[in-house]
């Protein structure tokens, strides 16, 4: 691996980056290691000083911190604040870091003590409500997805290295789903959050015949009211929509409203 990179003859600085995980499955980081075809190019573009899944060494001298996972413990709060002090730029990597992810499902129960007892029994453990990184520190950039899409992370990192603007699509998943010429899952009788969820995933799930669960959170203009009417017209129970709205935390507010109507928890 060369230290000197250049783009059109202009020297490009390889930024020192660190990868960190809070409460998560570390699957987003695994995505980055998963594609051997581009892994060497990725490693050539940045200088990784911290990546538990990929290397033994660790250091605190990084400019960009990729943080995966939700914050669920007091020590994670401290660790995250330290990362923020060290890094010029903190990137929330994946839905747990952006919205609390699957972890925030536990917040949906009325009695957190009951949840803790059911999961951990009498084992003493610090486990608080799961919150996204932005509830604790300032986050500079969010990369959505459960897991993140490797190609998207690579494009974002390339743009960061070149000093180009990082832009997320503002259209919902339907746009890319139609570009794959999939049959709409509503036509096949399945619910799908594609019409309200931020695109950019290349319609990963619908292209594999799984309706969208909204892991990337709401598109900037998400017409949830209309989707509710559509789901009702298609005779899909509102509970099935609620399952999806509350799964990853991106639709927290909308899920709360639906749950209240159904007379459910909290």
């Amino acid at each position: 691996m060369s230290d000197a990179k250049s783009y059109l003859g202009v020297p490009v600085l390889r930024p020192r980056v660190g990868f960190f995980e809070l409460t998560s499955c570390e699957g987003c980081q695994l995505q980055l290691l998963n594609n051997e075809a581009t892994l060497l190019d990725f490693l050539d573009l940045v200088e990784i000083v911290n990546f538990r899944e990929g290397m033994k060494e660790s250091g605190d001298n990084y400019r960009i911190a990729f943080v995966e996972g939700a914050v669920t413990r007091a020590d994670e709060v401290e660790r995250l604040r330290e990362i923020r002090r060290n890094a010029e730029m903190v990137i929330a990597l994946g839905s747990c870091a952006c919205f609390g992810g699957v972890n925030q499902l536990k917040n949906r129960f009325n009695d957190p003590a009951w949840v803790k007892r059911e999961v951990y029994g009498e084992y003493p453990i610090d486990s608080q409500a799961a919150v996204p990184l932005a509830a604790v520190i300032k986050v500079d950039l969010e990369i959505f997805g459960c897991p993140v899409k490797k190609e998207e992370v690579e494009r974002i990192v390339t743009n960061l290295v070149l000093g180009k603007e990082v832009k997320h699509p503002k259209y919902p998943v339907c746009m890319e789903c139609k570009a794959h010429e999939n049959i709409c899952l509503f036509d096949l009788g399945e619910p799908c959050l594609g019409p309200i969820t931020r695109g950019g995933c290349d319609a990963w799930c619908p292209s594999n015949r799984l309706g969208c669960w909204g892991c990337r959170g709401p598109a900037p203009e998400a017409n949830v009211d209309e989707l509710r009417k559509i789901v009702a017209r298609k005779n899909i129970p509102l509970e099935r929509l609620l399952d999806r709205l509350e799964c990853f935390g991106g639709f927290g507010g909308e899920a709360d409203a639906v749950r209240k109507e159904l007379g459910g928890l909290k």
Partner: protein, 349 residues
């Protein structure tokens, strides 16, 4: 125009002559939950896969000319220098077998915009020139309003057009290429009875066209009703998802993005088919957005198709295929939107 009659049994021979090329035709994609049988265009190798009895495909055939994503240029960097490579994407002739009148007329409309000097779209033009198109008479659905858009009949834009007449096909030969290919087939001259059967078929199709758009004075009415409150209701329903434009055979608007490969040694300019209903379609530098509300975006889609295009080309940028309405989850259909503008209110609003 040259009219001939082809025995139905000869169709396979015709297919075999063409299938040495890449051949695209309608195929079945299974049933929807409401019982509708779904079709789409796909590559076909055997005549048995070809479903010429299809109603309407979910997606149009436009991707064979306007891919959803297309590299308009690849830049190979070497040191401080770079080289641009352009590939129009017309690597081989393409046979489109079984396009309905609406979809052929859609290509004719695209031609007017995309092949016009002084800035023709070479990517579209190269693919269009390398295309052999066989039209086929249709089975209208309740969503079809092609007749209202003047797109229910084909006058040009394909190489030949087939209309089944029981055991025979009525063949309209519309290009010299088609004439030469047909020479090796057993064709006969049509009789008066064939002409009659052809007209009966047309009448039968016409009777199935139940959806309608009253296009009388439509450009003027759209001008008058620019501030109509019906747009608020349609905007409230619109998901701003872009599905209507993606399935539309005539929507050609696009976005361009420059991307650099991970190794910094290559770049590309990528064209992505876009939709005026998407939130950032009219967003400009500085983050300003000319159409931040879904009601104005939806309105402009209608104004482009049924007003602006008509003023420029004397015809709407719509062939009445009904795909946008059929695939809109919110149930926004052209006949209902136009009727509501005329009425001044949305029914069941």
């Amino acid at each position: 125009m040259i009219f001939k009659v082809l025995a139905a049994g000869e169709l396979e021979k015709f297919f075999e002559l063409l299938v040495v090329n890449k051949l695209i035709g309608p195929v079945e994609r299974g049933p929807a939950v409401d019982g509708r049988l779904l079709f789409d265009f796909a590559e076909v190798a055997e005549i048995a896969e070809l479903r010429l009895d299809f109603t309407q495909t979910v997606h149009s055939a436009k991707k064979y000319l306007l891919p959803y994503l297309e590299e308009t240029g690849v830049f190979v960097m070497e040191g401080s220098d770079w080289e641009k490579r352009v590939d129009y994407g017309a690597h081989q002739p393409l046979v489109l077998f079984g396009l309905h009148a609406c979809d052929i007329n859609a290509l004719n409309k695209l031609d007017k915009v995309l092949l016009a000097e002084p800035y023709p779209n070479r990517f579209y033009g190269a693919k269009r020139a390398a295309m052999f198109i066989i039209g086929h008479s249709c089975r209208p659905t309740p969503a079809c309003f092609c007749r209202s858009m003047g797109a229910d009949s084909v006058r040009h834009g394909c190489d030949l057009f087939l209309t089944p007449l029981g055991d025979d096909y009525f063949v309209e030969i519309m290009s010299s290429r088609a004439f030469h290919i047909m020479e090796s087939l057993d064709l006969r001259e049509p009789t008066r009875r064939d002409h009659k059967r052809f007209q009966e078929q047309a009448k039968h199709r016409g009777n199935l066209l139940t959806a309608e758009v009253d296009a009388t004075d439509l450009t003027k009415i759209l001008d008058m009703e620019f501030d109509s409150t019906v747009w608020n209701e349609w905007g409230r329903r619109c998901l701003s998802c872009g599905t209507c434009a993606q399935v539309c055979p005539t929507c050609y608007c696009y976005g361009l993005e420059e991307v650099v490969a991970l190794d910094l040694a290559k770049g590309a300019k990528i064209r992505q088919l876009y939709s005026c209903n998407l939130l950032d379609f009219a967003e400009v530098a500085g983050g300003y957005n000319f159409r931040p509300e879904s009601r104005t975006r939806l309105k402009y889609r209608y104004y482009h198709k049924h007003r602006g295009f008509v003023e420029a080309f004397e015809e709407p940028l719509c062939v009445g295929c009904g795909r946008c309405g059929t695939n809109c989850l919110a149930g926004i259909t052209v006949p209902e939107v136009i009727a509501s503008v005329r009425r001044g209110e949305v029914e069941n609003g």
